[in-house]
Symmetry: C2
Subunit: 509 residues, 2 copies
Amino acid sequence: MDGILFSGGFTMSCVAEERMPDERFERLFNPRHLAIVGVSTRGSGFASGIMISLQAIGYEGTIYPVNPRGGMFLGKDLYKSIEAIPHEIDFAIIAVPAGEVAKTLEACMKKGAVGAEILSAGFSELGTEEGVEMEKEIQAIAARGIRVIGPNCFGVYSPRSGLTLLPGPDLSRESGPVAFLSQSGGMSIDYAHLGKWMGVRFSKVISFGNGADLRETELLRYLENDPETGVISMYTEGVKDGNVFFRALADVARKKPVIIFKGGLSEAGGRAVASHTASMGGNRVIWESLLHQCNAIQVRSLLEMAQVGLAFSMIPEGNYKNISVMGGGGALGIAACDVAERMNIGIPPLREDISESILDLLPKPGSSAKNPIDVANPHVAPQILKEVLLRAAQDENIDLQIMIQLFYHYKVMARAMGISVKEATPYLELADAVGDVVKTTGKPVVLVMPNIKQGMDSMDIEEMRRDARRAFLEKGVPVFDELEDVLRAVRHVSRYHKRKNDLVRAYAQ
Amino acid sequence: MDGILFSGGFTMSCVAEERMPDERFERLFNPRHLAIVGVSTRGSGFASGIMISLQAIGYEGTIYPVNPRGGMFLGKDLYKSIEAIPHEIDFAIIAVPAGEVAKTLEACMKKGAVGAEILSAGFSELGTEEGVEMEKEIQAIAARGIRVIGPNCFGVYSPRSGLTLLPGPDLSRESGPVAFLSQSGGMSIDYAHLGKWMGVRFSKVISFGNGADLRETELLRYLENDPETGVISMYTEGVKDGNVFFRALADVARKKPVIIFKGGLSEAGGRAVASHTASMGGNRVIWESLLHQCNAIQVRSLLEMAQVGLAFSMIPEGNYKNISVMGGGGALGIAACDVAERMNIGIPPLREDISESILDLLPKPGSSAKNPIDVANPHVAPQILKEVLLRAAQDENIDLQIMIQLFYHYKVMARAMGISVKEATPYLELADAVGDVVKTTGKPVVLVMPNIKQGMDSMDIEEMRRDARRAFLEKGVPVFDELEDVLRAVRHVSRYHKRKNDLVRAYAQ
């Protein structure tokens, strides 16, 4: 297998994989004693910014802010040096000018820190000799025992302890199965925010920027055995050692799904990568074939990464070959069929007796119960929709069900009745009903809720949609805006598990 | 050309194309005297529904509601018969049980109506002999002079007069260049709503349902010469006469872009089409090659149709081969390059002197001015961004500029300053600045505004985003959520005009 996997231009490497013990990772991701170096009394700069973020999110450890000139910030005295901190520290956040980073890091190590995140920029990403040299200095210190995240990054987000990213005062405190490793700070914060409302919950998000020390391979190996992590996702612009990385990736993907968004696969993108993180972009064909061989899940945008992360979090292992689609309006179902065919997912006619028993439930004329199921209008009662889903699930061909809801149509009704959209729309009852269906049938149901009305005069609909999303997610029903996104994500889930099982079987023989 | 265009299984036809005179179409789309037949005093049913919608949108003509039992609704006396209406009518909206439609239509014709929309269902879409017969009866009456839209449809939306779709009380009253012909009622109302906030303005939207009389070909021919319409879009599940339709399409597309969403191209989709509008779905390869030969623009979802409609409305004719991309954060630009390559759009390095002069403006470290332009953070002042765009436009290689904005980052700043997100975010100033750039440089700028934060705690960001969209649209800057959507739409614009010019040239020789 090696011969196939590691051909393709990656330099062979003799570097053995090393990994820090798990208990030290635990102190790094969930530190109880945390130094923040570079805090300004005026509240400007990254260090003050992250201190604000940590306080806002409710970080649960003790913070020791440091500034050589002393003073106060957010009601805390600033320590004049790291040495002056009255306790051993677990972790440090460093945001001082690039030239002062090395000595700061050294001092943090002496103070007992297992690791530090360096938010400061001005290193190898500049492409200057000076920048490269300073980054090497950091690496040399790291090699002596303090592990480094960064420089030029947003740091670590760990919902359990409340450690958060530089611009992340309002991220979720709820932990979940998805880990995210990101070479880009922007992607890390964007995904953390997307996840919060989409229903993706994180074990940890690590923005490692230039990756002077800790980066993709070692972190991947850590996540392989991290009991908190069930799904791994990664944004990478280039890996340090392709050989070691792809070997690790192939191993890890046999245990957990690994979703990879590789930036810089185009010619212009490769050029842009060079000035962003100084990585080599790499050839599209090589990357795509290696990712495929490793059974990694390649995605092509942040949004797709989040959608696929949601699908892997909420849809159980399975091969979802055939689905049912239920919506109010014929064109929705037709569009579903056309998309499904492109995705190689079937929408087969329901068993005749089931179809007939469903038709009995639906308003006439205008409805159709063949699959797609057209319930004829957007106001069909939750208990009817529940019964339709229950009956359709009895067809042994159906592996998963999709329900499309255009809740916005209730606004007209709300207006006529003189009540709010939230009161007029039975979305809470429907969420309960669909939750019951999932429990009873054991077959997943996904809600598609297209965002048709986004005008200034529809803020009430938006508020209702957001609450509906929350309610369905709580009942174990993932929610998407567009049907195409569901089907793409479901296809990734099916394919991954099928290939994983094939590969595991091949290895077992 | 005919030989190529009309091979592929469409029945040859000898039916000559007929068309109603434009002044009669004008009375139909913008009627001054309008009968609504089937209004219930209790406010239930389609006729009462559309009367509510017409009153809410502010329809400007006179409404004559009809119910054999008389009574009152919305403060208006109901006429007991069409004959009892004290004025000649231009148009009628018919929503009575299927069996009563024919005689109602006949009466409307006698009362002077040039046309009627039949909202009632229960005709050929049922697939029953009775339904088919009743639809034939409608056709026979229509042939004697009253043109019919429907049955089984949502009718006509004409912003100029305020005629609106069945569920459309709150559509925009602003007219614009986009016409939409839809076999599906659901698509017609969804697109009308999408257009309202996306910035697509309509000349008229026509939901023609079963299309017993007026349908795709004749309406297309009408729109060909309609001075209000600059861009035609169409959702179709199947056409009545492929031969005549594709000939018309090829003609019309030589004058105006025609965007087509064809539903039912898959096997399952074709089956679903049969039970929705009783059309033949048709073969994917034949459809796609005929659409291509006609230089129609094929889209694959409602959302794409709206995005492409917006692009054709706001981006002038041109061949947009190379673009600049400006955003705060390196990964955004890299992703842009990767998408652009797939779309065959270039993001070339800027001319060196221009790149250097842009870099002078940007915060350091962290920025890059090669193209993509990474302005390093999301808080760069509007006047700086304006200057960057002005300088980049001086590069003769650049045909169009894209600006990515993650306004949500201003929320942290707003909180620190104790002001609202709307106050903290300089989006109005930026809209003015970018509007100036477009005017000065003559090169389009498109704003990409990813919707990262959609939680319950971000309603303030949502409100700001919506107002920002309005402000940019007013300055002639189209707004999209995702970069991929812009590039796909821009590619359609370039391709259409290039092929149109080639075809026109070929015909001229």
